[in-house]
């Protein structure tokens, strides 16, 4: 079989590995850093691929496919496994028919996540094996093993990646045109296995414990766990991206690279430990390997060397190793100690020019509602006014592009916990007796993901809250994936579309408004009206994501004669509007023109104009 050498990201390699392993069904909800796995699978022929409404649904669909005897894959980001935990644990109990691989991509360092949980714990918790690649080549190679292991041991397999595996491109030798053998779907009735009433579930637990024992012996001979013996004075046990950092920093040491990090190949570890003078465990985040190895009675250096918080990198590892005397002092003083600290302006991400969420965020701030001191202005009378406004509307937010409205200058949001939480939190605040008016904001994809159940709760329990669904007709934050409200499938084909307003009415909400995302006065008026009513209300603020549609209107220009330098336009937080000295300018390369015109609406002097050219 022809092999080609390609530069693949970990996510591309996982997708290709699964495809070549004969996967038939793949499901996911987009989430950084996992999104590209399904995006890549969606380009491949002969398999079923879907964006599910959330990770729990994705897990259930993949589990169903596995019961039909075919190989199935479900992918998600780390927090997605929290959503999918229920069916994930259930899958561990029933086991599988066709191989079931659950890819979860952790995000140490929180590049784009709300926490940095270490999902290796899920493997031990749910009593399933875990496999971890350390580069794209392994990500590709391990996939076949993962499916085989799943089928042989009747268990889902947790395939764990991290941002630096998923989003790093490394060289991989892959099959050019694989001879793919997919299993034929066939469901064989077996209520003792598939119907987990207590009488059927009880005998499964001892089987699960037995499975872990068998897996432990299996892992001892797992060919991809690799022992590299060099200088025996230090023996490093590591896995995943941390292994590569360790190789980079410790040039001659001995290494035990683990691909199977649960259950651990204990005999192999003991043998390795006996070959070296001292054992160092290098792992990101929690002392997962360290704890188990210590319980085995082996003395190790672990978290006293490698931080428990944040993403690891070769820099940190080298500095810590030098300080601990594991590596020699460098000849020169390190440059970073010499460096003159300079405060450079930060560049936080912000809403794009022409973003349909900007007007709503602006309105929410203006209606309410500074809850914090505005950092973006000089001490002035405005600051005192801002203080007076503090008793305004509370805005609970969800997770998506609109969460960026928490940053200056918009400063519009008060909470953000997890997908789907905004509506429930608002309801909780209200039922707790908070006297402020409360508005929750949530995106269209996120509303379908898990907002809808909270809205049903509000209706049922006689809440009064106002929900704003920011509908930009895509899942923008992760790169414009389709969802049930878009009418576009994972493969980019047209499909039936959920009508958001009908869906909302179907939950029992009677007060439903649909407003244009670029009509600031209407948005403001609608919010004002809705927060005064005694029944739940939903405002769907609709406008397309400019990064997706990429269309421009007539250009906007600034009439400097009219401008009185109040700089209110800067409060919109538009990257296309800049102050040059005390002159306002519009960057025409960024501005989407009168498709947005929010600056024009907030200017009290009509200094912004639509140019006819």
């Amino acid at each position: 079989m022809a092999i080609t050498k390609r530069l693949l990201s970990g996510n591309e390699a996982m997708a290709l590995g699964a495809y070549h392993a004969g996967v038939s069904v793949a499901t996911a909800y987009p989430g950084t850093p996992s999104t590209e796995i399904l995006e890549n699978l969606a380009k491949m022929e002969g398999i079923y691929v879907e964006w599910s409404t959330n990770e729990k649904v994705a897990m259930e669909v993949a589990l169903g496919a596995s019961y039909a005897g075919v190989r199935a894959l479900v992918s998600m980001k780390h927090v997605g496994l929290n959503v999918a935990a229920d069916p994930f644990f259930a899958a561990s109990v029933t086991g599988v028919r066709g191989g079931l691989v659950v890819i979860c991509c952790d995000d140490p360092g929180m590049h784009s996540s709300q926490n940095e949980q270490d999902n290796r714990h899920y493997a031990r918790f749910a009593k399933v094996p875990i496999l971890e690649p350390s580069d794209s080549q392994e990500a590709y190679n391990i996939m076949e093993w993962a499916f085989k292991m799943s089928e042989e041991f009747d268990t889902p397999v947790l395939f764990r990646s991290t941002t630096r595996i998923s989003h790093c491109k490394t060289v991989a030798n892959v099959k050019e045109a694989a001879d793919i053998k997919r299993k034929q779907p066939r469901f064989i009735r077996d209520p003792y296995k598939f119907v987990m009433v207590p009488s059927n579930a009880r005998p499964r637990h001892p089987l699960m414990e037995e499975r872990i024992q068998k897996l432990s012996s299996y892992m001892e001979a797992f060919p991809l766990n690799e022992m590299i013996l060099g200088d025996r004075s230090i023996g490093i046990i590591s896995a995943g991206a941390a292994y590569q950092y360790a190789r980079e920093v410790f040039h001659n040491a001995s290494f035990l690279k683990l691909v199977t990090t649960y259950p651990l190949p204990k005999k192999l570890i003991k043998r390795f430990a006996s070959e070296v003078a001292r054992v160092v465990v290098i792992e990101e985040l929690d002392p997962f390997l360290e704890d188990i190895i210590k319980i085995m009675g082996i003395q190790v250096i672990g978290k006293e060397l490698v931080p428990i918080v944040g993403e690891l990198n070769p820099q940190i590892l080298e500095e810590r190793a030098i300080n601990a005397g594991l590596l020699p002092q460098p000849q020169q003083m390190s440059q970073s100690t010499k460096k003159v600290e300079r405060a450079l302006p930060l560049r936080p991400p912000l809403l794009c020019p022409g973003c349909p969420h900007a007007a709503t965020s602006y309105a929410l701030r203006r209606l309410g509602f500074y809850h914090v001191e505005p950092h973006d202005e000089q001490a002035s009378e405005k600051r005192a006014m801002a203080r007076q406004k503090r008793q305004g509307i509370i805005v609970t937010s969800d997770i998506g592009c609109y969460t960026l409205a928490v940053y200056p200058p918009l400063l519009a949001l008060d909470t953000c916990a997890c997908m789907g939480a905004s509506i429930g939190q608002a309801h909780g605040l209200e039922k707790a007796g908070v006297t402020n008016k409360i508005v929750s904001v949530i995106g269209d994809s996120t509303f379908l993901h898990s907002g809808i159940t909270s809205l049903v709760d509000v209706v049922y329990n006689k809440g009064h809250g106002t929900v704003i669904i920011l509908d930009n007709n895509t899942t923008a934050m992760t790169g414009h994936q389709g969802h049930p409200g878009t009418g576009i499938s994972a493969r980019g084909e047209e499909t039936r579309k959920v009508i958001m307003e009908d869906l909302v009415r179907g939950t029992g909400v009677r007060d439903v408004s649909v407003v244009n995302a670029f009509d600031l006065p209407l948005i403001e008026a609608t919010i004002k009206r809705c927060v005064e009513t005694d029944e739940p209300s939903v405002i769907i603020v609709r406008g397309p994501c400019p990064l997706r549609v990429r269309m421009k209107g007539k250009p906007l220009v600034v009439d400097l004669e009219q401008c009185d330098k109040c700089f209110n336009c800067l409060r919109v937080g538009c990257a296309a509007i800049t102050k040059d000295g005390d002159k306002i300018t519009i960057d025409t390369a960024l501005c989407v023109g009168d498709r947005c015109s929010l600056c024009l609406q907030v200017c009290h002097r009509q200094a912004f104009k639509v140019s006819e050219r």
């Binding site: 950084t32 850093p33 784009s112 989003h167 490394t170 560049r347 800049t578």
Partner: protein, 202 residues
Amino acid sequence: MTKTDVLMTGVGGQGVILASDALAEIALKAGYDVKKSDSLGMSQRGGSVVSHLRMGEHIFSPMIKKGDVDFLLAFERLEGARWADYLRRGGVAIINNLAIPPLSVVGGASIYPSTVEVEEIIREYTDEIYFIPATEIAVELGNPQVLNVLLVGFLSLFLDIEEKSYIGNLSQRVPQKFLQLNLKAFARGREEALIRKQNRQH
């Protein structure tokens, strides 16, 4: 080529990732082991973008250590200053002399560094500094978006990879109707590097 570490930095939307993808492919074709790591996600919303690109005989870590970078290729001045401490002593800093002020600057909360200040910061690590008006040249050529190809062209003169490998990759990557413009941008970047190297004018 001995091990070469390139750090590309810029602002979301400038084409940093595209440029490092292209260079990584070119280095792979030229026979090197390659690893690269990008910041993704939030940064595409106008945030700060960085791409670590490593090439050589055998690469382990996909991330470069501070003090190891051979070439800092900054698509924007402030981002050049921000990542200067990754440069190794005597490394090469190639800075597009363009200012994209972040909102904190526009709002008056912080001050954007001048070219002289950026130079001072970088000089703590190296004297090999090139400021190029790359965006201006790209606009002159007809499209500011070819900035990334122009900068890769400039960098290419310093790397041990044949010129035709770049041309070949561009021809595969760029749609036919933009190819001439991109080839022109690449050539122009390379030419600029040659002139400055000869004049030792930074």
